[in-house]
């Protein structure tokens, strides 16, 4: 479904992503883990089409994505952002936020689709005409997921979708994402610095360090400690220490 090959991204003279390659099968879920500044979010933004300056190959469903994406591309691939407080327009109602993609693509049944999108992410219909600042963090992130799903995409790119939320809300959102993937046969690429989140949602993951993907392994290998690269082991040890303070 997704193929990324020798992806390179530079900001000015500084190369941030240096030849990253990975594949994700249809209905699969791939996690990218790494420290801040390792280039993991940059990879995701380039895949989504937000960064129009990269080299290498990004292909969805066997079709190479051009640097500048055509509007139809965004019906196939959507993205959910990290911070639900910054990813919703502060002066627009939820209704307006959800309807924008439908209006751009001139899709029929706007009314019905918005209602459906809200119930898909388990939000009450009463939030429809409220403003983002009237909602809680978890509700906002649900709105952001609904906005991505309203395009009926096949691929969902998730940029730390839970890191700005409370721990209890994190679990709700992760379960919602897991359910949606199963119900709609979505393909996920999830970026996070939290190994537990990645391992919960992704059977396969890649570890990034300084713009390179230093290791790809399965979540089972990670749990069992069968890591090959020193950085992966370090991340794993750190994660375990944080979970269970001795």
């Amino acid at each position: 479904m997704i193929k990324v090959d020798q992806l390179r991204i530079s900001f000015g003279t500084h190369e941030v992503v240096r030849g990253v390659s990975f594949d994700v099968a249809k209905g699969g879920s791939f996690g990218i883990v790494g420290e801040s500044g390792s280039g993991k979010s940059t990879v995701l933004r380039a895949m989504a089409g937000l960064n129009e300056d990269w080299s290498g190959r990004i292909a969805f469903d066997g079709t190479d994505a051009p640097l500048k994406r055509p509007p139809a591309f965004f019906r196939q691939v959507q993205m959910v952002f990290q911070d639900p407080f910054g990813s919703l327009h502060p002066r627009q109602t939820i209704d307006r936020i959800l309807s924008e993609l439908l209006l751009v693509h001139k899709l029929p049944d706007v009314e019905k689709r918005i209602k459906q999108a809200l119930s898909d992410v388990a939000l009450p219909q009463t939030v429809r005409f409220r403003y983002p600042h009237q909602l809680s963090g978890g509700q906002r992130q649900r709105v952001a997921i609904a906005r991505a799903l309203i395009a009926e995409p096949q691929v969902l790119l998730l940029d730390e979708p839970t890191s700005a939320l409370d721990v209890s809300v994190q679990a709700e959102i992760l379960n919602l994402l897991a359910d949606l993937r199963q119900a709609r046969n979505l393909t996920y690429v999830l970026v996070s610095h939290n190994l537990a989140v990645i391992a919960h949602l992704c059977p396969q993951l890649g570890v990034m360090l300084n713009g390179e993907m230093v290791e790809q392994l399965s979540a089972d290998d990670l749990r069992a400690g069968r890591t090959k690269h020193a950085h992966t082991s370090a991340l794993r040890t750190l994660s375990i220490d944080l979970e269970e303070p001795a």
Partner: protein, 300 residues
């Protein structure tokens, strides 16, 4: 009755329609503006002047250009509340009719300037690169001239009159608005919600028009209101210098200009229009300060 039901409807925490949500937001802005006494005084004065100017033909006691040379430079009295000028014309009537000219000029200037500034600023800020450089250097050129001097040059090049004065002030007043809109746009363009709208496949123009420009409007409204007084003063100054409204037309600045010869002997001839300019400018400043508190996008 209607008031309370509107209040409950607008302040409903779970609006049921688009219009209810919009009215709710507007009503909340109005409520917080209403709690600011200075802003309400300003708004009251502005509305009063606007109303008086609009109703001038009905309420003015005399024809503003009716001359009575036998009764020139009369002191304020029961017959002529604000006295008469050097041609025996009633000053109160001239102030009322003059409000139409002066306030009309200000409104026309703002109606031209704010959209131009917003458009230039948004395009420059969002497009960036060469477009930004070109638009901003043009803005810099206009900013480099003193406002009144440039306006004077424009009027002199066209022909003295109200229309040229409006055009001249508009041409000199837009650059600060463009700067402001550009600065706002630059802070907005890299946010996640704009990125999310880019992911709908919308064109850059659609994003600018529907999602970025509306966020620049509040700070432009505040800036416009605070700028009103300086526009009034520029309009009056042009009138004073003989480049704005022409002789029989009762423009406030022109009225002061003709009164300057006897400003010490017959003080009211120059003072009354001066007071009118002062009151309206002050009112706009009060309102602008209040609006800034209410509309500031950084709050709430």
């Amino acid at each position: 009755m209607i008031q309370t039901s509107f209040r409950n409807w607008a302040l409903d925490e779970t609006p049921a329609s688009r219009s209810q949500a919009n009215w709710g937001r507007r009503y909340r802005i109005w409520l917080s503006l209403k709690s600011n006494p200075l802003a309400m005084i300003g708004l009251g004065i502005i509305l009063l002047f606007a109303l008086l100017s609009l109703l001038a033909p009905l309420i003015a006691p005399y024809d503003p250009s009716l001359q009575n040379l036998g009764n020139r430079l009369a002191r304020p009295s029961a017959v002529h509340w604000f006295g008469t000028d050097e041609l025996g014309r009633d000053i109160l009537s001239r102030i009322l009719f003059g409000g139409r000219v002066t306030l009309g000029m200000v409104v026309s200037v703002v109606a031209v300037v704010a959209p131009i500034g917003l458009a230039v600023g948004c395009v420059a800020g969002y497009m960036g690169g060469v477009v930004d450089s070109v638009l901003m250097r043009i803005t810099d050129v206009f900013l480099a001239f003193p406002r009144l001097i440039l306006a004077l040059a424009f009027v002199a090049a066209l022909k003295p009159g109200v229309e040229s004065a409006i055009l001249a002030i508009a041409l000199t007043a837009w650059p600060p608005y463009a700067r402001l809109a550009r600065a706002e746009t630059m802070t907005i363009r890299n946010t996640d919600y704009v990125a999310a709208y880019r992911l709908t496949g919308a064109s850059r123009w659609r994003i600018m028009l529907r999602h970025i420009a509306p966020l620049c409007v509040p700070s432009l409204i505040v800036r416009t209101t605070l700028d009103m007084s300086s526009i009034i003063i520029t309009a009056a100054s042009l009138g004073f210098l003989g480049m704005g409204a022409q002789a029989p037309s009762p423009e406030w600045g022109a009225m002061i200009a003709t009164a300057k010869r006897f400003i010490f002997e017959q003080w009211w001839v120059a003072t009354i229009p001066g007071m009118a300019i002062f009151m309206v400018s002050l009112a706009f400043n009060f309102l602008g300060d209040g609006l800034r508190d209410v509309l500031d996008p950084k709050q709430n």
